[in-house]
């Protein structure tokens, strides 16, 4: 990995980029060029001018983003830019106040739904810090969750044979050992195991939109590759991904169609995978223009 480059935002936060060792994808660039012509009605997820605050502090300040089925969107940005807030707001975590804007998911008002309703509708958030839940068996939990989703969608529940079949297939695709099934949810898991358990759950639940919140943080290169493989195996024309990451490194393994830079609560730049390279080449000066109005105020 080439040396990283860093700069400071006007807010004083450090913004770090890795050089991208691979060539950018021309296919993604092509899709980018098509983007303005997209049918708006086809959007799976449509976030418009979203403002959110937590504990009296404005975090998201007019974020707009559209995601279609089959697309992979990477969202990069410095710590504190609002990346994790975006993930939490989309999944329905309490404690965030939406002051302006809207989010629709397959034409339904996502912000009006409880977390479990969003899950049943097909939203999945792979968390940055998966919670350890002693006493709750991983398999039991996952089966209850899957069947609760199916009930909510009016589908038939899976019996234990059908469920285990699905689980075993997923395990083998992800090269996971089945001791995962017998343990309590995330209890005593290493950082890498927790992240892999998130991707495993995602694979079993088969969401329409998967949001990966800094799934790469705290992973060594082998764990990172394993997680990326699991994600890539789930890519399909029906499924969209939002990959939130602080570092460019994950994008070497999960090739995004779009890269967005999130800074100071909104998306300030959108491009293909080559955007990270551009950031690398032009650095702070290049991105500062986009957040200059705020900087000028400061």
């Amino acid at each position: 990995m080439p040396p990283l480059k860093s700069f400071r935002c006007p807010s004083g936060r450090e913004f770090i980029f890795f050089a991208c060792p691979k060539k950018s994808s021309s296919a993604a660039a092509k899709r980018m060029s098509k983007a303005p012509n997209r049918e708006r009605a086809a959007d799976m997820l449509k976030i418009e001018n979203l403002h959110a605050r937590v504990e009296g502090r404005d975090i998201l300040k007019g974020l707009t983003l559209s995601v279609n089925p089959g697309e992979v969107h990477a969202i990069m940005g410095p710590n504190g830019a609002g990346k994790s807030t975006l993930g939490h707001v989309l999944a329905g975590r309490e404690g965030y106040e939406i002051t302006e804007g809207s989010v629709s998911f397959n034409d339904a008002d996502l912000l009006d739904m409880t977390p479990e309703q969003r899950a049943a509708a097909g939203v999945f958030l792979a968390m940055q810090y998966p919670v350890e839940i002693p006493g709750v068996n991983n398999t039991y939990f996952l089966r209850s969750a899957l069947n609760a989703q199916r009930r909510a969608r009016g589908e038939e529940e899976l019996d234990s044979v059908q469920f285990l079949k699905r689980v075993r297939e997923t395990l083998s695709v992800m090269h996971l050992k089945d001791d995962l099934l017998h343990r309590a949810v995330n209890e005593g898991f290493s950082g890498g195991e927790k992240k892999r358990n998130e991707i495993f759950q995602m694979a079993v639940l088969a969401p329409k939109l998967a949001i990966l919140d800094e799934t790469d943080s705290g992973l060594d290169i082998d764990a990172l590759k394993a997680v990326a493989e699991g994600v890539n195996a789930q890519r399909s024309p029906e499924r969209a991904f939002i990959v939130i990451t602080h570092y460019q490194r994950l994008l070497d393994y999960i090739r995004p169609d779009f890269v967005h830079v999130l800074a100071d609560g909104r998306i300030v730049e959108t491009g293909g995978p080559e955007l990270a390279l551009q950031l690398e080449a032009h650095g702070y000066d290049w991105i500062r223009d986009r957040i200059a109005p705020e900087a000028a105020d400061a």
Binding site: G92, E116, R118, F124, M127, F141, Q149
Partner: protein, 438 residues
């Protein structure tokens, strides 16, 4: 004199078996002492959290003052061997002692009183001299029923022995006084399950004292499932005495009754004795559950391990006093006490009080207490995967207490207890209300 004492004193005059086996004088002395001393008040340290003022103003009739012929219960009874007591009387018809191995004697106290051998009922000889012993004095005066179990030397009983105490809603409020003895001779092993059951609409007073005598190298697994009527007032005392190398494993599930007070006095009187205490209290609405554990290490090398879990919802209150006393010279003692507590509503209250008193030099002793609410992050995690909120809450609450059931030796029994506990975790309306405003 309070209405409660007055009504019980009236019933005492016609008590059956009152003078049997020369116990008449002792019973009257106990009754007089109870009337003179009265019931404990919150001024006594041990009763600080539990007021009996409302209970004292109520009147109760004793079982013999009521016709027993029409008692109806809708309880599913556990498998044999079982002893069933309905409204404070032994019910031979509902009991089934088939499959009881040789070397096990299980009788009703009333049968012992009807016989001519005072040794059968020596359990009634216990005297209480402390000021706050009002209920135990009443028990000494009024108990003419109970279960007497003796397991002979070296006998290992496989199937759990079930003792079922059930009340049926009829007429006046009953005051039921029971006295039990569980005695294991040297090397004996057994599992005893106490079931306390009742029906809606009843408001009985249940006073029971259980004596556990464990001779050397015995193992008793004692499971207590308290699901008494929602209106019941239950005052219980369990006294266990452990000889050398004896093991006492108690699992107490406190799920029912309006007022439940359990005093648990455990004496490790022998070297290498071991007590394993597991307790789960689940309260709701306006329930009041007060447990007073007094565990005493008298001789060296004894060990005790206490794990207590309390889950309070509604406007209920749970008290747990976990007292461990290690006597001078009880070197090599190992005592661990942990109490974890979960408040489901803003209006519930839990008072947890671990107290260690150590007079020996070479001991290992630890205690810990935590009080908290359900983890918001865990709740969000489960919901974000699709579990409805109520189901996610139940899952987390069950996870909080399930480890207590892991030690149950009989797997069928363990599964049944899991079902009982899960059932008890279903939310009630008061909780929903309180949670909505939280």
């Amino acid at each position: 004199m309070s209405a409660l004492l007055e009504s019980l004193a009236a019933g005492f005059e016609q008590l059956p078996h009152r003078d049997a086996l020369g116990l008449g004088t002792a019973r009257r002395e106990s009754m007089d002492a109870a009337l003179a001393g009265g019931l404990p008040t919150p001024r006594r340290e041990r009763w600080k959290y539990t007021s009996l003022r409302a209970l004292e103003q109520r009147r109760f009739v004793l079982p013999h003052q009521q016709d027993a012929s029409d008692a109806e219960i809708d309880t599913v009874l556990p498998p044999a061997p079982r002893m069933v007591f309905v409204d404070g009387r032994f019910d031979a018809g509902r009991s089934d002692l088939s499959g009881l191995p040789d070397g096990v004697s299980l009788h009703a106290l009333s049968a012992g009183l009807a016989g001519d051998d005072p040794r059968q009922v020596n359990v009634l000889g216990r005297r209480w001299n402390t000021d706050d012993a009002g209920f135990w004095r009443l028990n000494a005066a009024l108990a003419v029923e109970g279960a007497l179990l003796r397991i002979e030397q070296g006998v290992r009983v496989q199937p759990p022995l079930h003792l079922v105490f059930v009340t049926s809603a009829r007429g006046q409020d009953l005051g039921i006084h029971l006295r039990h003895r569980l005695e294991l001779r040297e090397g004996a092993h057994a599992t005893v399950v106490e079931h306390h059951l009742g029906h809606a609409g009843e408001r009985p007073l249940l006073n029971s004292v259980c004596h556990v005598h464990l001779k050397p190298s015995t193992v008793l697994e004692h499971i207590r499932v308290q699901r008494a009527a929602a209106g019941a007032s239950l005052i219980a005392r369990t006294e266990a005495v452990l000889a050398k190398q004896a093991t006492y494993r108690l699992l107490s599930l406190e799920l029912g009754a309006a007022l439940s007070r359990h005093e648990l006095a455990i004496d490790l009187q022998g070297k290498g004795a071991h007590a394993e205490i597991r307790g789960l209290v689940r309260s709701r609405e306006r329930q009041h559950v007060d447990t007073q554990l007094m565990l005493r290490h008298q001789l060296p090398q004894a060990s005790s391990d206490t794990q207590w879990r309390a889950i309070a919802g509604g406007r209920s209150r749970i008290i747990f006093h976990g007292g461990i006393l290690i006597d001078e010279g009880a070197d090599g003692s190992d005592a661990a006490l942990e109490t974890r507590n979960l408040l489901l509503t803003d209006t519930a209250e839990i008072d947890a009080q671990p107290v260690l008193e150590i007079h020996a030099d070479e001991v290992k002793a630890s205690h810990g207490a935590t009080i908290g609410q359900l983890d918001d992050r865990a709740l969000f995690y489960l919901r974000s995967r699709g579990l409805p909120e109520a189901e996610a809450r139940r899952l987390l609450v069950f996870a909080f207490c399930r480890s207590l059931l892991e030690g149950v030796s009989d797997t069928g029994l363990q599964a049944q207890l899991e079902r009982v506990v899960k059932q008890s975790l279903l939310p009630d309306h008061a909780e929903n209300d309180a949670e909505a405003v939280a």
